[in-house]
Symmetry: D2
């Protein structure tokens, strides 16, 4: 099940479930996988930054990938961002053998010039094999690497295996419009554009031509519905649902370990994860923050029953 530029819909970024003592929680991995599938997701991205990948050793990473790939009948994308090509190559080879659909690669934060960025992706593709489909992650807020539309076009043109853009530039709406323009004028091969950035602009990103979402929001069902409504041209309905979630979505989209803590807490409250535990370096929510999240969920629940959480 290879990743192609035809992928559309919602591909959640999965957190990694841990037991309170720090061991990987296999039962929660399974439950989370089923949860994503039942939510209507079209793929799953595992071992991304949100997935605490740098806190897992190689054997653990492979075990998780194996488990999720075996259980799910949708494309599994594996985070392969790494400080060097050796670790990247090893991980990619192992997960592709297990049946991963493709990998996601973010840039090292030392890249500055256009040429450095293009060269990096050329070398990464050589390192992992030019036949391995990959997602180009464009996230300046985290990586401090700024890719113009023209640079993305160069990367897509040079690398046939670059089939998806994980778009999370901010501001980023005009970028989608520009890239779709490149496709229309024939200067760039069509790719799938899936949006990250916590879904903060998904409502308008869809209207600008995005193909879906690729982010870790704790209610993937909402993302699925918004993508569907938007694709069906039901603008007001899409925004109504999105706006009902936005106050909490914004809260979840706080950068760094706090955002992850919020997501794991809610997924635990929803019965998906057995524990909200993070591996170190970790951050746990204050009682006040938990109360804020509970309050926000209760407000969503007035409109969307799926946010009702049994106290």
């Amino acid at each position: 099940m290879a990743l192609t530029s035809d992928i559309k819909g919602v591909v959640p970024i999965a957190p990694t479930p841990f037991h309170e003592d720090g061991r990987v929680d296999d039962a929660s991995v399974d439950r989370m996988t089923d949860f994503f599938l039942e939510s209507g997701c079209d793929g799953i991205t595992i071992l991304g930054q949100l997935g605490e990948a740098p806190k897992l050793d190689h054997a653990e990473s492979i075990a998780i990938a194996k488990r999720v790939i075996k259980r799910a009948n949708v494309p599994i994308i594996v985070g392969a961002t790494a400080p060097g090509f050796a670790a990247m190559r090893t991980l990619v080879r192992d997960v592709m053998e297990l049946g991963a659909a493709g990998v996601m690669i973010g840039p090292p934060n030392t890249l500055r010039t256009d040429d450095q960025i293009v060269t990096y992706y050329r070398q990464a593709a050589e390192a992992i094999g030019s036949d391995v489909p990959f997602v180009l992650q464009d996230y300046p807020l985290t990586f401090t690497v700024v890719m113009t539309p023209a640079v993305i076009r160069r990367i897509v043109s040079e690398n046939g295996a670059c089939v998806v853009l994980k778009h999370e530039d901010w501001p980023g709406l005009e970028k989608i419009t520009t890239l779709r323009g490149f496709e229309r004028d024939g200067s760039m091969r069509p790719i799938s554009i899936l949006c990250g950035n916590g879904g903060l602009f998904l409502d308008f990103e869809m209207e600008r031509g995005a193909d879906g979402a690729n982010t870790g929001y704790a209610f993937p069902e909402m993302l699925v519905d918004v993508v569907r409504l938007s694709a069906a041209g039901k603008r007001d309905e899409a925004h109504n649902l999105f706006d009902a979630h936005l106050p909490y979505l914004r809260y979840e989209q706080q950068q760094g370990p706090l955002g992850l803590a919020v997501r794991k807490y809610v997924l635990m409250r929803r019965g998906v994860l057995a524990s909200e535990a993070q591996r170190k370096p970790a951050l746990s929510l204050s009682a006040q923050a938990r109360g804020e999240v509970d309050y926000l969920l209760s407000r969503i629940a007035r409109v969307d029953k799926r946010a009702e959480i049994a106290g």
Copy 2:
């Protein structure tokens, strides 16, 4: 009318109105000043980053300050962030003589260690005069300078004239709680905490103990109401109003010149500014972006009539 730590409420960050040909638009400056006062604001900050201050020469800056200070009967705070203490000293001396209530100082983006930050504010206070009240601007996203609560406490303790924190760290809710804890345990003199960051977390920032808002949202009346409702303990009402604005507020809070372009466009649509013109380097909204903003305003207007804009 000196700025003190008693300031509460809403202090908008004012944009600078220009004519289409780039000249400062005095009539719009006056109209905007009146608009802020009629909206119930408790002060006005001019010549901040949002105010395109680096695009104004000294004479223009002084003329604007003079005009606003003369017209308004609330404290006027003047942005004084500068690459060197000479320009800072000159500007501060001139605007304080004109009757400014105080100044706002953000850190140069070269500061790294705790001591460097504390030293910078000590030297800045010496440069401008230790009797000039100042707002400490804590905005890591823009300045790349990270101030821990303990560093803020050191700055407040060393500088009697540091009376307000413009809080725009992100995530930042626990920071407010920690600072208020310092005040309660007697380790820090009480200061006013006014929140920026486009107001994106104002609903909860108020609940954590903030004194108000210090940001450039195009509907300051909403900020005024949320601050009032929250201070009165009317939690649901505060969130209801805030949430109605959030989809647009989020859109406006896009970083850099785009966010400013949105604000100027809406203030023009509201009849406050005669033109949405920015000085170079500038960015103008695409037709698609204008449509998105109009759509968002029409949705606010279902709940808050003040967002109704005559087509």
Copy 3:
């Protein structure tokens, strides 16, 4: 006396002399100007970063420019790097009226992509007037902006007034070779390449095709001799002289206020400046550092008598 791409030789970056109490020291400004001329310099750059320009107010800057321009019979280049085009335009207009030969512009440290850099210089040229000759400062270590040779070529091609590159990339030798290659293959108009970076690679930069030095080394006579010897093909003699100075030159090239403190100390010891005072934020040399500098000068003096300093 307009700056052109024909400029060759040594153009020192001048410090700004202060009295102990912080006032500008006019007598030392004059003595320093004469010293540079007597040393055989081909121009002087004033009000650069080394010149503590951000610590000077506008009137002081203009007064210094006026004084030096009037006294010297060589092209005077004025540092015009600024956080906004308004201040840049004002300064440039005023110093060009006084007879400056041109200005030097470094990039703001927020620029990331190739296009952002090119656009910045286009807008800067529009702001100051397209007839004002300017030096493009390429100093990634300080500005965090990385310009590829292709970006420099785009800036040179777009802006007829860009006549000099202040080259201080590190490593940077291949960059000079590439740029000279662009000139040879006709893809770039010839420009003057003057080298900064404290002179740390001047020996080889000359051999790669540089036109001279544009840096603040405290013995400009040495730079003059090395440039002359190198241009005359006297390789070993050039290196012999350069190498005799290198241990001290390296010491002086320590980044930030320390390097400036060393230079001012030595210029004071040489009788050029009356005081080594810096304006705040300042750094003064420890006794140990002074001893190290004295020792290094005594070692140069074994080969180059000009480094002999009366105790």
Copy 4:
């Protein structure tokens, strides 16, 4: 042979030898190990940044560590800087079992505040085991993390296993003096200070109280002699030797892959490495650069015969 704070002298940072086709070159690993021992080195650091560690997979890293540890009768320090604690823990456990003397840990470039830096090292020490001796690497130029002397003192105080500082701040002489002052006034436990930064200030670092060098200069014999002469109080002799090497040492100390290319080239010319090959991303020297290096070596050879290289 555990690493302790008693270590003194020269601990070279070893490159990783590759065959032309990219495989690790075991014979050269052995020859290089012997070369360091014969040069009088007191330890060897392997798998550092200079050692292209991110380009090696885990098995390769372990194989190299095993080989060097077995062959050498001096402490072997292994670079353990990693993007996450999982990879760090695995590597450290494996190399310590093989007999490594300790590990070296640099900070991730996302750390900003004093507390973040201190917390990171506390967590790293917990991750690898509080009994594993480690070298604290302080290299702001590469890591963009600035550690004040007070922060270093906090790290040393909290972590009994922090026994060496790899000092490569720039400027950095006063830092050594301050840290030795902390030791004298009893506020910090004595540690070994070994200097990196290519050796660019080793002459004065020794005079300020450093214990030796921990850097990859291609003539470790020179470092050994300078450390010995300096420790013996033979100041002029130490500087004479150091200065003879400085023109080349400066050339070698160019940042990034160029500096590594120069070192590998010279070690190949010296017969230590069979090839100068780097793994990708790699940089190869231009013919002009090779000529410059050869010229510089020929000039050292006038004073120090060890730099004579058979053409």
